[in-house]
């Protein structure tokens, strides 16, 4: 029999199976071509092509020495592309290259098994690069295909029914779901990224940083990438668009060109007075490679993994290198009337670039407006009435950007208005600072959440007005009031042209498209909220809320093993149950009898019939020969006989239990 199993393994794959396997491998490696270098992808493709051509053109295998050439080529490419022998990219590209070499050798079923096992491994490596929903779906599909091929290649008969193969694969996949769910919920989460792989990637993520200069935000605004998404807990408490200021770094220090937030700010307490109703919400940020978390102006309750600075900016304790969700409570209306003299002094310091033109301009306005409020209004009025343009592509400013912007170009984006406004305030003796962050956001009607994009990046100012405390003034609204009501459409900007705002009235098709985009976005957010973002914190929260919080550390790991084993056992019992139920009660009794015989040293083969067994047993156990014969006759009567009565079954049961 062993021989025949070996024979099965060395059966030759037919053409159809061979081509399907190659196609499967191609699909399994496909997403890696976006991750790995072009040379590796080219290597993979050329091997695939070579194999296909040689298979199609001739029935003979290519000479074996060619494999060695391919092997050396592959190794050279991998090593030269990734000089370091350690790391994700090196490992994965080695795997891809080696797998492609394996294609050259596919001949028998055994080769197919090896290849499928290796592809199973490669499918997992996709998650080292991204855990987006689509890739998970893709990997799921390919896993199903892999299972399908596995089952197919293990069929003994030559003609297989694909429908039945499909059903079997489906059944096996469904049976895996309970174990998957249990492991997902209970498997202990590690705090660091898996294998520390994420740390090596130099993220080229754009976003608001603690450093702005004229042009930096307008650059950002051209990107429609999502910065973060906000899900409000109470749909009635969603703040109006003009109140949706997502507060980021607060910049006090400046050299006249660049504005800088404190590099390593310290944690501070929240001391402002809240007014109005609180808003509680969850922010799911994208990876930004920064510390800043953009809470709704002003945050009151912040999550554990973050702290708040004295300027009420929220910072994560760790750099945000993956999607994370945070829960916040904010007060959109507030009175921040506490501050320190150092803060006020810093907010009055003037950089070197203050020109006489600026001082003269401030003095003129100050003379006609005595109160600070009036002065502020007159500056804003100046922005409004004079020929200032709000544009994403302002003309380049060279030596003294603020001066040039205020008096010459008069074309700028929010950061130009905010910084120059703050500078004018400081010249006028009012403590002022620049706040960077995001403003607005697009409402996703499908997911009922707010999408805040990089194009919503914004800068505004805060000025100190004595009793009123720190007051938010957004000079951009003086130029382009629509900015705070609508989002910028990054698709529609022209060089130097005024900003085009997104308008909601679109054609039928446009709104359908928009709806689809919203749906995808909502799906993505929920995917993160419930699957990828099921972090240690969320796991803890889940365990607490279900009263399972006694499972900590190793206990959690143990419980995940125990529970999944239990799930497997239950499924085995359920599955076996179907078979045993179908089994004859007489057969059950007979099996019991055979077990009894086995204990007494009678060997019974499963292919032995009742008479043969009785004969063998009678020879070995001569004293019990008569009862053995009686039992076997009874069994034959009950199981194979024409007249069957429950009476007989009971007798058989009695006889066997007495035996």
């Amino acid at each position: 029999m062993n021989k025949s199993y070996r024979k099965i393994n060395f059966r030759i794959l037919d053409k159809q199976q061979h081509h399907l396997l190659t196609a499967f491998l191609f699909l399994a490696a496909l997403p890696h071509f976006f991750n790995l270098s072009l040379a590796i992808s080219l290597f993979f493709f050329s091997i695939l092509l070579f194999r296909l051509v040689t298979r199609l053109l001739s029935h003979r295998e290519h000479p074996r020495w060619m494999n060695y050439i391919f092997l050396v080529t592959g190794l050279v490419i991998v090593v030269s592309e990734y000089s370091g022998v350690i790391g994700k990219d090196f490992g994965v590209s080695l795997l891809v290259a080696m797998l492609s070499l394996k294609i050259l050798e596919i001949k028998t079923y055994r080769d197919a098994y090896v290849l499928l096992f290796l592809t199973a491994f490669m499918l997992v490596t996709h998650f080292l690069y991204t855990q987006e929903m689509f890739i998970v779906f893709y990997v799921f599909t390919l896993t199903f295909l892999m299972l399908f091929l596995f089952i197919w290649f293990n069929q003994l008969q030559e003609k297989v029914s694909f429908y039945h193969l499909f059903l079997t694969t489906g059944k096996i996949s469904l049976q895996a779901i309970p174990v998957m769910v249990i492991l997902f919920i209970f498997f202990p989460r590690l705090d660091g990224p898996l294998w520390g792989f994420d740390q090596q990637s130099g993220l080229a993520v754009t976003g608001i940083s603690g450093n702005i200069s004229p042009g930096s935000i307008s650059q950002l605004s051209k990107s429609s990438a999502t910065a973060f998404r906000v899900k409000f807990d109470d749909p009635d408490q969603i703040p109006e668009p003009e109140l949706r200021y997502w507060r980021g770094p607060v910049m006090v220090e400046t050299d006249g060109v660049n504005w800088k937030a404190e590099e390593k700010p310290l944690a501070a307490e929240i001391r402002y007075q809240s007014a109005g109703k609180p808003v509680s919400y969850q922010i799911t940020t994208e990876a930004s490679n920064q510390h800043w978390v953009f809470a709704l102006d002003l945050p009151a309750t912040i999550p554990e993994q973050t702290f708040i600075t004295k300027d009420y900016a929220v910072r994560a304790k760790e750099k945000i290198q993956k999607r994370i969700s945070y829960n916040f409570i904010s007060y959109p209306e507030y009175l921040a009337n506490t501050t320190t003299t150092e803060q006020l002094d810093a907010s009055l310091s003037l950089p070197g670039g203050v020109t006489n033109r600026m001082r003269l301009f401030v003095d003129t306005l100050k003379r006609s407006n005595h109160s600070n409020e009036d002065f502020v209004k007159s500056v804003l009025n100046h922005f409004n009435t004079e020929n200032f343009v709000y544009t994403l592509s302002p003309p380049p400013l060279t030596v003294n950007p603020t001066d040039e912007f205020l008096f010459e170009t008069r074309k700028g984006f929010c950061e130009h208005y905010a910084t120059s406004f703050v500078l004018l305030m400081r010249i006028g003796g009012i403590p002022a600072r620049v706040v960077a962050g995001y403003q607005g956001g697009e409402w996703n009607t499908a997911g009922n959440h707010l999408i805040v994009r990089q194009s919503d990046a914004h800068a505004w100012s805060e000025i100190w007005l004595g009793d009123k405390g720190w007051v938010r003034v957004d000079p951009t609204t003086a130029v382009a009031p629509e900015r705070v009501e609508r989002s910028i459409d990054p698709e529609q900007f022209l060089e130097g042209a005024p900003v085009v705002f997104k308008i909601s009235s679109e054609g039928m098709f446009g709104s359908f498209l928009k709806q689809a985009v919203f749906m995808a976005d909502a799906l993505d957010l929920n995917w993160h909220r419930w699957v990828v973002g099921f972090s240690r914190e969320r796991q803890n929260y889940f365990l607490r809320s279900t009263g399972l919080d006694f499972l900590e550390g190793y206990k959690l790991g143990l419980s995940s093993i125990v529970l999944s084993s239990l799930a497997i056992i239950i499924m085995v019992i359920l599955f076996r149950g179907k078979i045993t139920d179908r089994r004859d009660p007489a057969k059950k009794l007979w099996d019991k009898f055979i077990r009894k015989l086995n204990k007494r040293g009678v060997s019974c083969k499963p292919a032995d019939g009742p008479q043969t067994i009785a004969k063998n047993a009678g020879q070995m156990l001569t004293e019990q020969k008569s009862s053995i014969n009686l039992i076997s006759r009874m069994y034959i009567q009950v199981r194979y006989g024409k007249r069957y009565s429950p009476e007989q079954l009971r007798t058989l049961k009695k006889l066997i239990s007495e035996f």
Binding site: L156, Q157, A586, G609, K642
Partner: protein, 304 residues
């Protein structure tokens, strides 16, 4: 005598002449009870013809024998229409096939055309010549013999024709004691002629009827299906067993149960007939490690 006593008597008498070959006798009788035809494949001189003769005598069947040769024509078997001047018409002269037991000796010596004439008669139990259909007598059995050793100038029966035979048995050499008794004893040919029939053909037909009424339980059908499935889902054989083979297996097992004096079929009955029923129907793959398909099945199919 009841049916079992009759069958035992047949077997006993046959064993008295064909010494030490009870299994072959039982299988042959089993084939006849199942209304099947028998193929005996063995070397010359081991008693193929004797066995066929014996059965014919004991059941009181009208016995005919054809020695197959390469120049044998279908008409030599089936018969021929000859013009008779007296009646001025063609009169059909029945060939040797119009008998109750036909011994086709060395069937593989004849040409395929002749072979198929016989095989068609076996299947249809009637002969059509010149547009007239002639019913063959009842019961109608064919016992064909084949000599596997000399293959030169023979036409081995194709697989599809082999399927027409319910069983294919081997007789084999007798054991030492039987052979001694054979050498010491009287002339077997003479003994054969002195044998009296145990039952009449009519009685035998009723025995056939009884055999087909033997009870087959669902549990046994499960076993039968497991055997069929094993031959199909395994690439040990070139093709699995056909449904006709399944029916043959079951019918043979019923008759075997009757010979064993049982009113129901048990797995052992099926096991007893498996090698004889399946071995000539299954073709082994080139490189399997065994040569007896029936034994392979017996050892590997678990009784459900």
């Amino acid at each position: 005598m009841n049916s079992n006593e009759l069958l035992s008597a047949i077997i006993d008498q046959a064993s008295g002449i064909l010494l030490g070959k009870q299994q072959a006798i039982r299988l042959s009788l089993c084939t006849l009870l199942s209304k099947g035809h028998l193929l005996i494949e063995d070397l010359p001189g081991v008693g193929k013809t004797t066995l066929a003769h014996l059965l014919g005598q004991l059941i009181g069947l009208d016995f005919q024998r054809i020695q197959f040769t390469s120049d044998l024509l279908p008409a030599d078997i089936l018969g021929v229409s000859i013009y008779e001047r007296n009646s001025e018409s063609f009169i059909f002269h029945q060939g040797p096939v119009f008998s109750q037991l036909l011994l086709a000796d060395e069937v593989n010596r004849a040409t395929p055309k002749t072979q198929s004439a016989l095989l068609e008669a076996m299947e249809e139990k009637q002969v059509t010549i010149d547009g007239n259909t002639h019913q063959l007598p009842k019961p109608f059995f064919v016992i064909a013999t084949q000599n596997p050793a000399t293959q030169i100038g023979t036409f081995p029966l194709p697989e599809s024709q082999l399927d027409r035979f319910l069983m294919c048995i081997h007789i084999g050499y007798p054991d030492m004691d039987s052979e001694r008794a054979l050498l010491e004893g009287d002339d077997r040919r003479e003994m054969l002629t002195s044998i009296k029939p145990v039952i009449s053909p009519e009685q035998f037909i009723s025995l056939q009827k009884q055999a087909s009424d033997i009870y087959v339980s669902p549990a046994l059908l499960d076993y039968c299906q497991a055997i069929l499935k094993y031959t199909r889902q395994n690439n040990l054989f070139r093709h699995g067993l056909s449904p006709r083979a399944g029916l043959a297996l079951l019918n043979a097992a019923k008759s075997w149960a009757m010979i064993e004096n049982r009113s129901e079929v048990i797995p052992e009955d099926l096991q007893a007939v498996i090698p004889a029923v399946v071995n000539h129907r299954l073709i082994l793959q080139q490189d399997v490690s065994f040569d007896d398909a029936g034994q392979q099945i017996l050892e590997h199919v678990v009784i459900p």
